[in-house]
C-alpha cells in the first residue's frame, strides 16, 4: 500500500512536470464541449440531460487516453530507469498498480473538470442527477479499461508512439466489438453463440447500459475484470521482458 502510494504520487506529479497535463486537459474539455454542442446538438435537443455529452466519451478516449498510458512503462524502458525502479524493494503488483492508478486519477481529474456541463444542465432544467452520476461512473470505468490496456501495451515496447498506436487500435476493436454495426455483420452468418460472445466482449453496450442510469453489477464487474486482466498481463510482460 505504502509503496503503491509513493509510486502513485511520483507518477501523478510526472504528468504535471511537462506540458502534457495542461494540454491534455484543455484539449479534452475543448473537444468534449465541441462534440456535445455541435455533433450532439445539446441545445437543439432542448432536453435537460447530458446524453450528448457522454455519448462521445468512448470515441474521445480512444485517442486521448492512450496519450496518458503510453509513457507509463515505455518511457522507463527508454530511459533505463526501469532497472532502477525494479531493483528497489517494491513488488511488481505495487509498481503496476501505482502507475495505473496515477494515470486513472489523472483521467479522473480531467473528467471532473467537465463539471460546468453538469452545472449548465442543472441551470437550464431539472435533469435526473442520478443518471448523470451513473454516466460519470461509466465514463471513468471506460477510461480505466482503456488505461489498463494501454499500460499493458506500454510495457511491451520502449517506443511511446508504437504504444500509442497499438493502444488506440486495440481499444477501437474492443469498443466496436459490441456495436450493432459489428453484430449485424456477424449475425448474418455466424452462429448465435459467437455473436453473443463478441457482443459480451464489447465495451460499448456495458458503457451504454451504465450511462443510461442502470448500474448493473455485471457491467461494473465487466470493466473491473478488464482492468484486472490487463494489469495482470502488464505485470507478466514487465517481468518477462525486463531487460529488453
Amino acid at each position: 500500500m505504502r509503496n503503491t502510494w509513493l509510486v502513485f504520487r511520483r507518477e501523478f506529479a510526472a504528468y504535471f512536470a511537462t506540458p502534457l497535463a495542461s494540454i491534455f486537459i484543455v484539449i479534452f474539455l475543448l473537444l468534449a464541449g465541441l462534440l456535445t454542442f455541435f455533433l450532439g446538438g445539446f441545445l437543439e435537443r432542448a432536453q435537460a440531460d447530458l446524453v450528448p455529452f457522454f455519448e462521445f466519451h468512448p470515441w474521445l478516449y480512444l485517442f486521448l487516453v492512450p496519450a496518458l498510458s503510453m509513457r507509463l512503462w515505455a518511457e522507463e524502458r527508454r530511459l533505463g530507469t526501469i532497472e532502477l525502479f525494479l531493483t528497489l524493494p517494491i513488488s511488481m503488483i505495487e509498481a503496476v498498480a501505482g502507475k495505473f492508478l496515477a494515470a486513472w486519477a489523472f483521467a479522473g481529474t480531467a473528467l471532473a473538470l467537465t463539471f460546468p456541463f453538469w452545472l449548465t444542465v442543472n441551470y437550464l432544467g431539472n435533469p435526473d442527477n442520478g443518471v448523470i452520476v451513473a454516466s460519470y461512473v461509466a465514463s471513468l470505468l471506460m477510461a480505466g479499461a482503456y488505461l489498463a490496456i494501454g499500460s499493458m501495451i506500454s510495457a511491451a515496447t520502449k517506443n511511446q508512439v508504437i504504444a500509442f498506436v497499438l493502444t488506440t487500435a486495440a481499444c477501437f476493436v474492443l469498443t466496436l466489438a459490441g456495436s450493432t454495426f459489428v453484430l449485424d455483420f456477424l449475425s448474418a452468418w455466424a452462429p448465435t453463440t459467437v455473436v453473443e460472445i463478441v457482443a459480451s466482449l464489447g465495451f460499448l453496450p456495458h458503457f451504454q447500459s451504465i450511462q443510461r442510469g442502470v448500474i448493473d453489477l455485471r457491467d461494473i464487474v465487466f470493466f473491473v475484470s478488464v482492468i484486472m486482466i490487463a494489469l495482470t498481463a502488464n505485470a507478466v510482460i514487465v517481468d518477462w521482458r525486463k531487460a529488453m
Partner: protein, 241 residues
Amino acid sequence: MTHALHIEGLTRHFGSRIAVDTVTFTADTGEVLGFLGPNGAGKSTTMKMIVGFLAPTRGTARVLGRDVLQDPLGVKAAVGYLPEGAPAYPDMTPKAFLDFIAGIRGYDGADRRKRVGHVIELTRIEEVAAQPVETLSKGYKRRVGLAQSLLHDPQVLILDEPTDGLDPNQKQVVRELIRTMARDKCIVISTHVLEEVDAVCTRALIIARGRIKADGSPDTLRSQWGSDNLDEVFGRITRNA
C-alpha cells in the same frame, strides 16, 4: 559464516549465447571488488542478476545470507545498486528523486530529510539539488545515481561503471568516496579502466566471455602473470580467453 556476497554458479543465457557462465565467488565486508573485463564480458549481466533485475538461467546469488531467488525483496532492500549509465527520472530534481527513493526505502518525515541531506552532502551535489536531472552534466548525474544507492547506508554496494565518462576530477571525487566507504561495506564495482583497480580495489576479478579468468589482489595478479603492468596482465588474460 555468512558472506556479504555469495555467488554460486551464476549462469545466464540469451538465446543460444551464454552471457555469464557459472560464475562463482564470495566477497566480504571490507573488500572492494573490481569486476574487470572487456565490453560484453558479462559484468553488467552478472550484476543485474545479483540485484534481482535479471533472472539467472542457473545458479543463484546470496546477499547477506538472503537468496535472490527466494527473497528478491530482501536482497533489494539490502543492496545499494547503481545501474549502468546512472539512470534517473529526467524531469525530477535530485532532491525530489532522492526523496522518492528514500520513501520506498522506508524512511519518513525528519528521518527521510536527514537521509536525503546526508547523501546530497556525501556526493557533493548540493548546488544542483534543486534543478531537474535532465539539465545536469554527466558527472553530476552519475553522482545523483550514486547518492540514490547510498540512501539506506547499505552493507553491500553494487556499482556498474561508477566512473565511466567522468572527467579526471570527477573520477577522483567518486573514487575517494568509494575508498572512504570501503571499511565497513562490501563494494563491487565494474570497470574496463585498469587504473581504477589500482586506485580503489582490494581485489580484482577478471571476466571474459562470461567466465572468471583471474581472481586476486592487483599485486597478486601482477606477480602471477609476471608483469609489472596491469594492462599487460589484462591483455594476456583476456586474449587467451
